[in-house]
């Protein structure tokens, strides 16, 4: 898994993504700036591509950071309740402020994502039996519970089908003006890269980090804030994308080991590639309709996750 292989794949897939869709656009159409094709291209296709790249890179990074900090390969926004906490946050913001602006929703969703992740880390601290498989099990249960709380409120407000629709990960609704929040991932990426070494050390444990003079708590907290920020923006703009943060870092770690600064760029790139691929498949498979990205990633992602699990058993 080399950068010089990943980068060309990424470029080719991006190109394909730009020119696949219901209204056919060819690169030549773009020469005419006034044409309808160019308008569609600028309003829908380009934002969609950018959104996919940012969401894919962002969610994979979030997963990688969580895995480093919790010292468990199977912890991720999906398996630690972060996604579900974000969803609850979005619902609460919808119910409390009927006409909430994107930024208000973002703030509430972020607060819930952070609180949920933090709560999970607290639970993790208190569980003495740190079996690699037991931890994600607790996390998934925790997520189920958060979503049952969400269901409770959604049921009372009679918005269950609506909510399913909002939170179903879906790139087909991405337009100019609705995805820009995702750019938050860019500074987050830079901070994550700067902190990479510190996360790696923190991953070796509290005592070990203190021995090296690292402020363990604050590094962990920064990591969790980054994770919550990415998750909240992605869920809010795109919807739930399960498993991405789980499988991508695991695949990269098989090839490149666990040194964060080395693996971070690869993880981000592979995440973007994987999501692009799922999105293109979803657009092509039942053309002219679309399979939502949640379903595509859910199906392919759970299959890969099962594979990783069995692989781990074989090597254990």
């Amino acid at each position: 898994m080399k950068k010089r292989i990943l980068i060309p794949i990424l470029v080719i897939l991006s190109f394909v993504s730009l020119f696949v869709g219901v209204s056919s656009i060819s690169p030549i159409d773009l020469l005419d700036f006034q044409s309808e094709e160019t308008q569609i291209f600028l309003i829908s296709r380009l934002p969609r591509l950018v959104a996919i790249l940012l969401a894919g890179a962002g969610m994979s990074m979030a997963g990688l950071i969580m895995q480093q900090l919790s010292r468990n390969k199977f912890v991720s926004p999906t398996t630690a309740g972060t996604l579900d906490a974000t969803r609850l946050g979005i619902l609460v913001s919808m119910l409390l402020f009927a006409n909430a602006s994107m930024i208000e929703k973002m703030a509430v969703a972020f607060a819930f994502a952070l609180a949920g992740t933090f709560l999970f880390m607290q639970i993790l601290d208190r569980i003495k039996f740190k079996d690699a498989i037991f931890i994600p099990l607790v996390g998934l249960m925790f997520g189920n519970i958060l979503s049952s709380i969400t269901t409770f409120f959604a049921y009372r407000a009679d918005v269950i089908q609506n909510m399913s629709a909002w939170l179903q990960g879906d790139f087909s609704m991405i337009m100019k003006g609705s995805y820009e929040l995702l750019y938050i991932s860019v500074p987050v990426f830079i901070i994550a890269y700067i902190y990479a070494n510190r996360f790696t050390v923190a991953g070796m444990g509290e005592d070990f980090s203190k021995n090296l003079g690292l402020k363990y708590r604050s590094v962990v907290n920064i990591g969790l804030v980054l994770v919550a920020l990415i998750t909240a923006t992605v869920v809010l703009t795109v919807g739930m994308i399960p498993f991405l943060g789980l499988i991508i870092p695991n695949i990269v770690s098989i090839f490149k080991g666990d040194h964060l600064q080395k693996t971070l760029p690869h993880t981000a790139m592979l995440g973007a590639i994987f999501l692009l691929l799922c999105d293109i498949l979803g657009r092509v498979l039942i053309y002219p309709y679309e399979i939502s990205i949640s379903l595509m990633v859910g199906v392919i992602g759970s299959a890969i996750f099962l594979f990783l699990l069995f692989r781990r058993r074989a090597y254990a």
Binding site: L140, M141, I145, S148, T151
Partner: protein, 316 residues
């Protein structure tokens, strides 16, 4: 002897709850309201017994008090089946309208899935139980991804039918089905009851159980299948109540200081009858609340679970 007194107290409460539900506000409607209420009470008792038994046994086998058999993905499978039927055949198709057909079909699908699942996993040698659970939960997520995707596409009027199935409800249970299920559950539990002492030994751990002459592997497999069948019956009859078993089993552990399964199984069953019948009475007649009982139970169960996780530092 104190456990005996506690048990009598609880049994008294359970009977009182049933009586209250049957006769409160009856206004002499012995011919019309009473038989209908009677069917509902039987349905609740039946659900309570099945879920309580399945959960306590499941927790013993998995050596864990914060799991429920629902993590095996049966709830999600049930929802997927209902969604698929409504999506592809329509809400006026016989498999949806005819409750007997739907009931048998649901049980068949869930039990076949559970059997295939266990067979597949046990064939690969003895996998650790958490591994099995994690796979189950992934299947659950997988099923929910598909359901969510279809639910968004379903016509809003049809979705009402799906939503009715999403939450357990005792309001329109079919009387014939109650009697059939009652017979099933009674026979299953009567057969299983003689294994109580072996289950006591099981809580000493696998090695100790084998040392004491328990056929560990066959007992565990048998009990896993049994709890899956019980959950399937309860779910097909009234709908999914994911976290109910978690509450009643843990209340029983807190209430009765004993290691004996005969005590905890009875305790959990009686507590679940009080919770279901009493809860339904409160929801129906006192609050006339805008939510079904199962949504509230999942909500309370969820909060209780998080409390358990935070409190239970000695949890394994």
């Amino acid at each position: 002897m104190r456990n005996v007194h506690k048990m009598m107290l609880l049994a008294g409460l359970a009977v009182a709850a049933c009586a209250l539900y049957l006769f409160h506000d009856l206004n002499g409607s012995f011919d019309y309201a009473l038989p209908r209420r009677g069917v509902k009470v039987f349905a609740m008792v039946l659900t309570g017994v099945a879920i309580a038994y399945a959960t306590v046994v499941f927790q013993t086998i998995t050596h864990n008090r914060i799991l429920t058999p629902s993590v095996m993905g049966l709830d999600s499978l049930y929802m997927l089946l209902q969604t698929l039927l409504i999506f592809f055949l329509g809400s006026d198709h016989v498999t949806i309208l005819n409750k007997q057909v739907n009931f048998l079909l649901s049980i068949a699908v869930m039990v076949v899935f559970a059997l295939l699942f266990y067979r597949l996993l046990f064939k690969k040698g003895n996998q650790p139980i958490y591994f099995l659970l994690l796979i189950g939960i992934i299947f659950g997520t997988f099923f929910s991804s598909i359901s969510t995707f279809l639910q968004v596409l379903i016509d809003p009027n049809e979705f009402q039918m799906v939503q009715d199935r999403m939450f357990a409800s005792f309001n329109n249970v079919n009387a014939d089905l109650v009697w059939t299920s009652l017979a099933f559950v009674a026979v299953l539990i009567a057969v299983a009851w003689r294994h109580n002492a072996s289950l006591d030994v099981l809580s000493l751990g696998r090695d100790a159980a084998v040392n004491l002459g328990v056929n560990y592997d066959s007992l565990v497999k048998g009990m896993l299948v049994l709890s899956a069948v019980l959950i399937a019956i309860a779910t097909a009859l009234v709908g999914p109540i994911t976290f109910f078993g978690l509450i009643v089993a843990n209340l029983s552990y807190q209430f009765f200081k004993s290691y004996k399964h005969s005590v905890h199984l009875t305790g959990a069953i009686v507590i679940s009858i009080i919770a279901l019948v009493g809860g339904q009475w409160v929801v129906e007649r006192v609050f006339t609340f805008n939510a079904t009982l199962s949504v509230i139970i999942n909500f309370i169960g969820g909060v209780y679970f998080i409390y358990l996780l935070l409190k239970e530092s000695r949890s394994k």
